[in-house]
Symmetry: D3
Subunit: 246 residues, 6 copies
C-alpha cells in the first residue's frame, strides 16, 4: 500500500495509515457500573455499561447471561440538527443496525455462562460526531464492559473469567483512490468504499462490513483495507490496555 500523502492529501493532513488521536476516559459519569468517554479525534461517544440481574425471556433458566447494546446520537451531535428519535417515536434503520452490530461485537468476547443470569447493557450515546461513531462505540464499550465485569467481581458475584480477549473496531476506506485508515466525516461523506472492521486481539475478525459507495471495490483494494484495519486495531488494543492500566 502506497503511503504518499503528497499525491492525495487527506483533509486532516493525516497519513493514509494514521488514526486520529484516541482518548479513553473511564468513570466519566458516576452511576453506571462502567462509564467511558471515548474520542476518535472529534468524535466523542459516551459508553456506559449497566448490570441488571435479569435476562431476556428466551434465556431464562438457562444459566447464561446476555450482553446487548443501544445506540443514540444527541440531536445536535451532528453538523445540522437531527430529529430526536424519542420525539419521532421510533429508532431509525441506521440506529438499529448500529446497535445490533455493537451488541454482536461485544458478545464475541464474553463467556455468557461465566456471566450467569445477568444482562449487561451497553449504551453508546454520541455527544459529538465526526465520522466513525460505531467503531468508537465498540472500542469504548469494551472498556466499559470490562469495568462492569470488574465491579461484579469485586462484589464477589462472579468467579470465572467473563471477558475473553479484547474487541476493537476501526474503519478504513478508499478516499480519492487511496486506501486510508479511520475516516473522519469529511472523508466518510466523500469516499468510494467504506469498511468497518471489528477484530479481536488474537487477530481474528469478528465482523466485516464493507460497502461500495461509489464504484465497486476490487480484491486488491479489499486486501489493502484489511491491512489498514489490522494496523488500526492493534493501536486500539494498546489504547484500551493503557486506559485499563494493564
Amino acid at each position: 500500500m502506497s503511503q504518499t500523502p503528497v499525491v492525495s492529501p487527506r483533509p486532516s493532513g493525516r497519513l493514509p495509515d494514521q488514526m486520529r488521536p484516541v482518548r479513553i476516559e473511564r468513570a466519566f459519569t458516576r452511576h453506571a457500573e462502567g462509564s467511558v468517554l471515548i474520542c476518535f479525534g472529534e468524535t466523542r461517544v459516551l459508553c456506559t455499561a449497566s448490570v441488571d440481574n435479569k435476562v431476556p425471556a428466551f434465556l431464562r433458566g438457562k444459566g447464561e447471561g446476555w450482553v446487548t447494546a443501544e445506540y443514540g446520537m444527541l440531536p445536535r451531535s451532528t453538523h445540522t440538527r437531527s430529529d430526536r428519535e424519542a420525539a419521532r417515536g421510533k429508532q431509525g434503520g441506521r440506529t438499529l443496525e448500529i446497535q445490533r452490530l455493537i451488541g454482536r461485537a461485544l458478545r464475541a468476547c464474553v463467556d455468557r455462562s461465566a456471566l450467569g443470569e445477568r444482562t449487561i447493557t451497553l449504551d453508546c450515546d454520541v455527544l459529538q460526531a465526526d465520522g466513525g461513531t460505531r467503531t468508537a462505540a465498540i472500542t469504548g464499550a469494551y472498556v466499559a464492559l470490562v469495568d462492569a465485569v470488574n465491579w461484579l467481581r469485586q462484589r464477589g458475584e462472579i468467579k470465572r473469567e467473563v471477558v475473553v480477549g479484547a474487541v476493537a473496531a476501526v474503519s478504513a476506506g478508499i478516499y480519492r483512490g487511496q486506501p486510508v485508515l479511520d475516516l473522519d466525516y469529511a472523508e466518510d461523506s466523500d469516499c468510494d468504499t467504506d469498511m468497518n472492521i471489528v477484530m479481536n486481539d488474537g487477530g481474528g475478525f469478528i465482523e466485516l462490513q464493507g460497502t461500495a459507495e461509489g464504484h465497486a471495490f476490487r480484491r486488491d483494494e479489499l486486501d489493502a483495507l484489511l491491512a489498514l484495519g489490522e494496523k488500526g486495531a492493534r493501536e486500539l488494543f494498546a489504547a484500551q490496555n493503557e486506559a485499563l492500566g494493564r
Copy 2:
C-alpha cells in the same frame, strides 16, 4: 428562615440556603450554534441551541420566530438504568412536561419579532442526574440561547436585541421540616414539598410549580420557599454573567 444545620442537617452538609457549586462551560461541543454544559453539583446537563431558518406552520408568514425545547435523559444518567425513550417509541409524560416548561421559560426572555422567521431549538440532555435537572436545563439553555443569538448577530442576520433580560431556575423544598434551596436527589426523593421557580433578572416570576409530595404546604412555608428561590436565582444570574464574560 432558620439556618440551623444542627437541627436538620442536609445529606450533603450544605446550609439550608446554600446551592450546590454551579459550573457553566460554553462551547462544550462544536457543531451547535450554542453548546453549554451546566453542572449543579453532580447534575450535568448538555444544553445546545440550534438555529433553523424555518418556523412551525402556525407562525409562517408572520415575521416572528420561535423558541422551543426538547429534553432527554441518557439511559444511565440515573442511579438505575431507565428505558431509552427512543426504543420505547414515545416520550413519557415527565419528559414532555419538562420540555414544555423549558420552552415557555426561554420564550419569556425572547423578542420573537426581533428574531425573525427562525426557530431556535434548545436540546437539554442529561448526562448525569442528581436532582434539579430541569432547573439546570433552563439555566444552561439561557446561556446557549445567548450564544446562538450572538452567532446570528455576528453573521449580520439580526439587528435588534433578541434576548431581553435573563432567565434562570432553581428548586426549593421542605426537607424534614426545613425549607432548603436546590434539592439534590437524596433530598428530592424524600421531601415533603418541591417547588421549581423560574425567574427573570428583574425579579419577576416566569413560572412557579410547587407540589406537596407529603402533607400540604402552608402559606408561611410557601413564603420561605419563594425567598430561597429568589436568593438562588440571584446567584445563578451571576454565574450566567460570569460565564458569558459580562
Copy 3:
C-alpha cells in the same frame, strides 16, 4: 386587591373575585362506581371513578392502593375541532401534564393503606370547554372518588377512612392588569398570568402552577392570586359538600 369592575370589566361581567356558577351532578352515568358531571359555567367535565382490584406492578404485595387519572377532550368540546388523540396515536403533552396533575392532586387526599390493593382510576372527559377544564376536573373527580369509596364501604370491602379531607382546584390570573378568579376561555386566551391552585380543605396548598404568559409577575401579584385562589377553593368545598349531602 381592588374589585372595581368599572375599571376593567371582565368579558362575562363577573366581579374580579367572582367564580362562575358551579354545578355538580352525581350519578350522571350508570356503570361507574362514581360518576359526576361538573360545570364551571360553560365548562363541562364528566368525571368517573372506576374501582379495579389490582395495583400497578410497582405496588404489588405492599398492601397499598393507587389512585390515577386520565384526561381527554372530546374533539368538538372546543371552539374549533381538535384532532382525536386516539386517531393521532398518542396523547399530547398538555393531556399528559393535566392527567398527571389530577392524579397527584387526588392522591393527596387518599390514605392508600386504607384503600388496600385496589386502583381507583379517575377519567375526566371534557364534554364542553370554556377555560378551567383541569380545575373543574380535579374538583369533580374528588366527588366521584368519594362516591367510589362509599360504594366500596357499602360492600364491606373497606373499613377505615380512605378519603382524608377534601381537594379542590381553581384558577386565578392577571387579566388586563387586574387579578381575577376562575378565568373563562375569553380571559384565559388573553391574560398575562395564569395560575392553577389546588388546595385541601385545611387551607393547605397541594399544588401551585403559575405561568407568566405575557410579562413576569411580581410578588404582590402572586399574593393577590393566592388570596383569590383561597376564596375560590372555599366556595368549591362548599359546593362539593352540598353535592355530597354533607
Copy 4:
C-alpha cells in the same frame, strides 16, 4: 314472525318488535355546528358535526365535499372500564370498523357536489353504552349533519339541497330463538344472530351487517330480521323528523 312475549320474554320486558324509548336532544353542546345527544334507552351517544373548509387530498380541486366519522367510547361508558384508546396509542379494530360504517352510511344521503369543497366530520362519542351504540350513532349523526348543513345555509354558503332523504340504523337479532328488535346489552351479549340495518327513508337498504354469533341463521330468520329492521327504521325516521321540527 311470532310475537309471543310469554314464550321468551326479553330481559327488559319489551315486546319482540318494540324499540327502546328514543330521545334526541339537539344543541347539546354549544361549539359544534351540529350537536345531538341521542339515547336508545340507556345507550347515550353524543354526535357532533364539525364543518371544515378543506377536503382530503384525494378530493382537492374536484369541487366535491366529504363526510367522515370518528367513533369513541368513554373509558367508563361500559360495564367494566375499557382502556382509553388515546393512551394505548391506537384505535382498535372494532372502533375503526364502526367509524367506517358511520361514514359510509351518512355519505349515502349527501350530495357531495352540493356541499362544495368542505368536510363535515361526525364525531360519535359514547357516554353510556347499553347495546346498539353504532345504530344510535348513525341515527343521531344524521340529525347533527342536518343541523350543520342548515348552519351553512343560514350563512349563505350553500345554495342547493345537500342532504337527500334521511338515514337511520337499528339492530335486530335472534334472542333465545326469537327475532327481536333493537337489542340491548343483555340481549346482545347472549344472542345467536345480530344484524345492523342501515336504511334510508325511501325504504332502501344502505348497509346490512349480519353475524351469526351462535348457530348460522336461516333464510326465514333473515327475512324476519329485515322486517323488524324496516319497522324500527320507520320509527326512527319519525323521531328524527320530530326532533328537527319537521
Copy 5:
C-alpha cells in the same frame, strides 16, 4: 333473476351467475401445518394455518381453543403499489375489518372445546388482487384449517371432531343494474351494491355484509343477491371438497 348477458355484458364476459375459475392448491409452502393457495380468477391468496399450543389470556385454563386470522396484501398485489403496513406502523381499518371477518367466519365451524387449549392462526396474504380477496381468503382458510386439524389428529393430539361442516364466502353485487356473482376488480370498483356472503354447507348464513356504494338497494335486489350467493357457495363447497379429496 334475469341472466341476459346481451343487455349488460360483464367486463370479463362471464354470465351474471358465473363465478371465476376457482383453483385450490394445498401444501403450497412447506412449514405451515396447513398452506393453501386459492385463486378466484386472477385473485390469489396464500392462506396458512399455524398451530400454537397457547391461547389468549382471556381463555387460559378454560379448556377451549381459539381460531384467529390475520390479513395482508403484498404492496404490489394491487394495480398501483400500496404502502406496506409494516412500514407505516399500523394496519389500516380495512385490514382490521377483513381479518376480524375471517376470524369470525372460521370460528363458526370450529368446536373450540374439541380443539383444546390451542390457537390456530390463519394468515391470509394476498399475492395478487383482482377483487374478492376477503371471500377467497375465507374459502381458502377453511381448507388450510382442515389440514392443520388433520395434522393435529395424525399426531394424536386431538380425538374428537374439531371442524363442524364447512365455510365458504363469495361476493355478489349490482353491476350496471344487474345482479352478478363474484365481482372482479373491474366490477367491484364500479358497482352500485356489493355484498359479501359467508355461508356454511348446511345452507345457513354465517355473515352478511352488504353495502350500497351508489343508490340504496331494494328488497328484491337483496333477494337476487342472496340467491346468487347461495349458488356460488355451493360451487365453492364442491371445490373445497375436491381439493380435500373428499
Copy 6:
C-alpha cells in the same frame, strides 16, 4: 479449498462449493412492472419492481431517480410462525437492515440520471424461508429491476441505459470447520461464520458483510469465503442472464 464431502458432509449432501438449485420465474404476478419469483432451493422470494413518477423530497428537482427496497417475511414463511410486523406496529431491526442492504446493492448498478425523476421500489417478500433470503432477494430484485426498466423503455420514457452491469448476492460460511457456499437454514443456524457477498458482474465487490457467530475467523478463512462467493456470483449472473433471455 478442500472439497471433500466425506470429511464434513453438509446436511443437504451438497458439495462445499455447490449452490442450491436456482430458479427464476419472471412475470410471477401481473400488476407490477417487474415481478420475479426467485428460489434458492427451498427459499422462495417474490421480488416486484414498481415504478412511480416521484422521487423522495431530498432529490426533487435534481433530475435524478431513486431505487429503494422493502423486505418482509410472511408470518409463516418460517419454521415457527413469526409475528406479523404490520400487527406489531413496526419493522424489526433485521428487516430494516436487510432492506437497506437490498436498496444499496441495487442502486450500485443504476445510473440514476438516466432513470430521471422516478422511483423504482423493489418489494422483496419471502414466501418460504430456508436460509439466504437476503441474497436471493438481491439476485431476484435485479431481474425485476431490469424488467421494470425495460417496461419504461418500451413506453419511450427513457432513452439511455439505466442498468449498468448486473448485481447478485450469495452467502458463504464456515460450517463445522469447512468453508461452504450458499448456506441453507440448517447450516445457517449452526455455523461459525456467515458472510453475505454482493458482487457485480465485473468482479467487483458491492458489499461484504461477514459475522463471526462462533469463534472469530482468520484471514485464510476469509479468503476461502471470498473465493466461494465469487464462484457463486458467477453462477447467479448466468442464471439471471438465462432468465432474461440474454
